[in-house]
Amino acid sequence: MNFPILSAMTFTPLLGMVLILLLRKEQKNAARFLAGVFSFIPLILSFMLLSKYDGSTSQLQFVERFDWIPSLGVTYFMGADGLSVPMLFLTALLCFVAVIYSFGDIKERVKQYFAFLLLLEVGLMGVFAALDFFLFYIFWEIVLVPMYFLIGIWGHGRKEYSAIKFFLYTLFGSLFMLVGILALYFTVEPHTLDMMVLIEKAPQLTRGFQLIIFLAFYIAFAVKVPVFPFHTWLPDAHVDAPTAVSVILAGILLKMGVYGFLRISYPMFPEGAIYFALPIGILALINIVYGALVCMAQKDLKKMIAYSSVSHMGYCMLGIAAITVTGISGCVFQMVSHGLITGALFLLVGVLYERAHTRDIGAFGGLWIKLPVYSGIMTLFCLGSLGLPGLSGFVSEFMVFIGSYPSFKVIVPLAVTGVVITAAYFLRMIQRMFLGTFNTKWEVLTEINGREIFTVTPLAILMIGIGVYPAPLVNMIKATMENIVRLVSG
């Protein structure tokens, strides 16, 4: 038995949470310190994961497996492949960044806040590591609880409304998943919840059954992504959540949906994947273009970035829909890239909001004169988001386009228009906030501080790194993506 690295990554934050709960309410700095340490350990472990992971094979690695509830066929089963390793790393990184960022802007109920944040990390890690449906579903639902409280207690604006909307919306989706899981469990002989076994057996089920269960899972995951028209929880939740939570929402939570498609829906129900390819592609196109158009109408900076996520997750769905190695690799690349870029953008919005207490794009102007470093960093990430070559977003968008063009000769050229609209709304925002004459009302603003720069630096380095030389990431996911495509299209 090797070192159980996946369990360690998943449960270290839980240990941290318990320790934080043991503190007294006044020990704010101790809570911060513990949260920092216990989110840093998974990050270190994730580096080990990256270095030990062998990308030449699609075999599961770091497997941990014990019987748990034998009478039901439930096992404690964790493992990682080219799909989950990048997600686990992203989770560890963004959670750490979120914790460090929260040192500054969370001043109320600090102890509870960090306890919830660490619990959230447990759920997220678990979702990406679990390979038994029972375990997966538990982690999937664990995520909801801390998220609900984090938005509802530490949020802004209509935070209760947003928290409830988020919770119910996702719960509504998970119910469909639960039905799907149960239907699968009782149909497959012998009854099992082992995902790897199901990936082998479920494709042999009847076509009609596959289509129905595919749809059930589709709803569950589409709410999470979110796919149009299930997307309206996203802007509310993202905007009203505290900064660090928005980072995790956009950076990781949305990826749970896409991950679900690639881990569960596509390999298990290839008939559904092939049958629904066109509608999924069309919805992806709507996400891309509609999301981008709606961005243009936003006056609130955070809301604009929230809607840009709707648009950018459309690229993921477009890449999946085509079922080609390049398209799906582009999708995973986009998940990582979007996590880095949008995560950073939310952090930077938080930096400004903390100082100016407004996010109204029109209220600023000429900030570059007063805040050159902040404006420069913000512009860099906006350029990343609009797909500038040399940065990661470009690589993923291009991979998605190239991968899905052979299947969708009309949809893809239409989706390319999203690239122009994205450029338009980002440049418009940059121009209105940072360029032009300086609005002297903001003379009091202070430049981005060291801690804040520290939080976005790793994200910037990675964004540039994989944008300039994508081979390491591509090689890591390649074998697994080939395997998924082989499972789906035979």
């Binding site: 158009l293 709606v294 190695v325 500038l388 386009f401 390319v416 122009v420």
Partner: protein, 642 residues
């Protein structure tokens, strides 16, 4: 050396990084770093050109960047005569502009930043010309677009400058839409991104004619955006809001020529798709005329030059569409020098009197002799006066056009030549001769410092002699170096040379008569042709048109989509479901509390009522029992008796 050509773009990249992270606070050092880097690039470009001249073969060097099923990209370099010439053009102009900028930008608070952007631009542009595949060329293509955006909006406090940068980026990206789609179509059909491999497949007929035409037209979209061809030409005149050295380097000599370079690089595709080539030629021809006609009446010195650039780029695009790859690149090469010179000269004037309006200039010749003389040399060159550079390249374009069956290209070509010499000498006469119109500005006018005038002189030298490498009598001239498959030898056509010279001289004479001798009154002409003048002066109302039919409706659509649809329909539905659920639970609560609970409580009430009633029966008190017995007995007795 050739395998190490990547070092040419690397120097400016290093300089960019160094300035951003280390020398940002030291303007002098920043400019030295930047100039040093570009000088090295220039030196190495010369060496590369020398080697390619000696041995004119195509060499390719590549490494794998992404390797996936269905997507294999090998980044690398393609060094052939075309690339070698472009390297030299870009590095030469860039180097001179760098030096000139030291004087022009002196005292600017963001001096270091300016040089870092120049370096970034040089890196991207040099990278663009040595790219060996579509993926790579697109990357650099976008990067030059970015630096163009950053430099147009360099003085971002001015709203017009910030607006112009945004407009440039978005307009060119609209063209890139076509570029991306073209790449998708072509590379999907050919199964590779590599230029050489794609061209082989195209020539072997492995790509169907329909797809080829389609992809060629879409690819051309990218060139239309970048090279500011109709209908996407509107960004370039606005781009003049950037500092003048930037206009010279990016928006005259190099970046805007990237579209021309793209078509030349992929000329194989256009030769195999004659319909697409005809589209290219027609757009180029139309743009050449359109822009030249607007240039006739503009009053901003830089905008006249901008329209001139658009028009000249149209020339190049046209001749490429007609299959004259050599002629197109030859004109690109000569144009880079004389147009950069014109802009730098204009910059020198603006630097001296702080205005762009030619009607506030006048009589500057005695005060700024070097600027004036070099500017006039460049004007003669662009007008195509024997024996300056422009004469040879323009003549070659006309010669190619004259071989095309339809004479329209030749006629428009000659017409544009006449218009060009007119508007150029209109500038010369109004700016440098006559009486000073603004006495105050005139008195403060002075010749620019040496650091600015020396680049002007070098460029003037090139504007005269650079074209001599393409004199048609030369055995081993330009046309036997840069060509597609077979050296393209145009026989010198003396009649054509004569006609074009006469046309050019008439343009100059007309300008002389109107703006120097004043024997023809421009005011009267203006009154006589009031309507055409107004249309030209307002640039055919393209900006207004685009705003009315694209920009504003799009913004309205976005607003409507968000407010009416996203909030009004989808979110309304979500909330409606939520509220309906709450309503249902309210009903249920009422039902619970009134009916269900009512029944439960009712049962309890009844039970309790009954219980408490019955309790009275069994109180356990003897007196009560005795009373009841007694009372019962009385009742029985009364009953019996009754």
């Amino acid at each position: 050396m050739l395998p190490y050509s990547w070092i040419i773009p690397l120097f400016p990249l290093i300089s960019f990084v160094a300035i951003v992270f280390f020398t940002n606070r030291k303007p002098k050092l920043s400019s030295l770093v930047s100039i040093g880097a570009i000088c090295l690039s220039f030196l190495f470009s010369l060496i590369v050109l020398g080697m390619v001249l000696k041995n004119p073969v195509t060499s390719e060097f590549k490494f794998t960047w992404i390797d996936l099923l269905g997507l294999k990209v090998q980044m690398g370099m393609l060094i052939d005569p075309l690339a070698a010439v472009m390297l030299l053009v870009v590095s030469t102009v860039s180097m001179l502009v760098h030096i000139y900028s030291v004087g022009y930008m002196e005292g600017d608070p963001r001096f270091s930043r300016f040089f870092s952007f120049l370096s970034l631009f040089s890196f991207s542009m040099l990278g663009l010309v040595i790219a060996n595949n579509f993926f790579e060329i697109f990357i650099f293509w976008e990067l030059v677009g970015l630096t163009s955006y950053l430099l147009i909006g360099f003085w971002f406090e001015k709203k017009v400058a910030a607006d112009a940068g945004k407009k440039a980026f978005i307009t060119t990206r609209t063209g890139d839409l076509g570029f991306i789609i073209g790449i998708l179509i072509l590379t999907t059909a050919a199964g590779t991104f590599n230029f050489t491999e794609i061209f082989h497949q195209v020539e072997a007929g492995h790509v169907s004619a329909g797809l080829l035409t389609l992809s060629a037209i879409f690819l051309f979209g990218g060139a239309v955006g970048k090279s500011a061809q109709f209908p996407l030409h509107v960004w370039l005149p606005d781009a003049m809001e950037g500092p003048t050295p930037v206009s010279a380097l990016i928006h005259a000599a190099t970046m805007v020529a990237a579209g021309v370079y793209l078509v030349a690089r992929t000329i194989t595709i256009y030769l195999a798709a004659p319909d697409a080539a005809l589209v290219v030629a027609s757009i180029g021809c139309f743009t050449a005329f359109l822009a030249a006609s607007i240039g006739l009446v503009q009053n901003d010195i830089k905008r006249v030059l901008a329209y001139s650039t658009i028009s000249q780029l149209g020339y190049m695009i046209m001749v490429l569409g007609l299959g004259g790859m050599t002629a197109g690149i030859f004109h690109l090469y000569t144009h880079a020098f004389f147009k950069a010179l014109l802009f730098l000269g204009a910059g020198s004037v603006i630097h001296a009197i702080h205005t762009n309006d030619i009607w506030e200039m006048g009589g500057l010749y005695p005060k700024m002799k070097t600027t004036a003389i070099t500017f006039i040399i460049a004007s003669l060159s662009i007008s195509g006066i024997f024996p300056l550079s422009g004469f040879w390249s323009k003549d070659e374009i006309l010669a190619v056009a004259s071989h095309y069956p339809n004479p329209i290209f030749l006629i428009v070509g000659i017409l544009v030549a006449g218009m060009t010499s007119f508007y150029m000498f209109r500038l010369c006469f109004v700016t440098f001769f006559g009486k000073p119109r603004d006495q105050h500005k005139f008195e403060h006018a002075h010749e620019s410092p040496k650091v600015m005038t020396i680049p002007l002189m070098i460029l003037a030298f090139l504007a005269v002699f650079a074209g001599w490498v393409g004199i048609p009598w030369l055995k081993h001239g330009f046309s036997s170096f840069v060509y597609h498959h077979h050296p393209h030898h145009v026989e010198p056509d003396f009649l054509l040379m004569l006609i074009s010279t006469i046309v050019a001289l008439s343009g100059i004479y007309l300008a002389y008569a109107m703006y120097y001798k004043k024997s023809i009154s421009p005011e009267k002409l203006k009154e006589k042709f009031a309507f055409p003048y107004k249309v030209l002066y307002n640039k055919y109302y393209f900006d207004e048109l685009y705003h009315a039919i694209i920009v504003n409706p799009l913004l309205r659509l976005c607003d409507r989509l968000f407010v009416k649809f996203d909030l009004g329909v989808i979110d309304w539905l979500v909330n409606a479901v939520g509220n309906f659920t709450v309503f249902l639970s309210d009903i249920k609560e009422w039902f619970d509390s009134h009916i269900v609970d009512g029944m439960v409580n009712g049962t309890a009430y009844v039970t309790r009522g009954v219980g408490s009633g019955l309790r009275k029966v069994q109180t356990g008190q003897v007196q009560t029992y005795a009373f009841v017995i007694f009372f019962g007995l009385v009742l029985i007795i009364l009953f019996k008796l009754g």
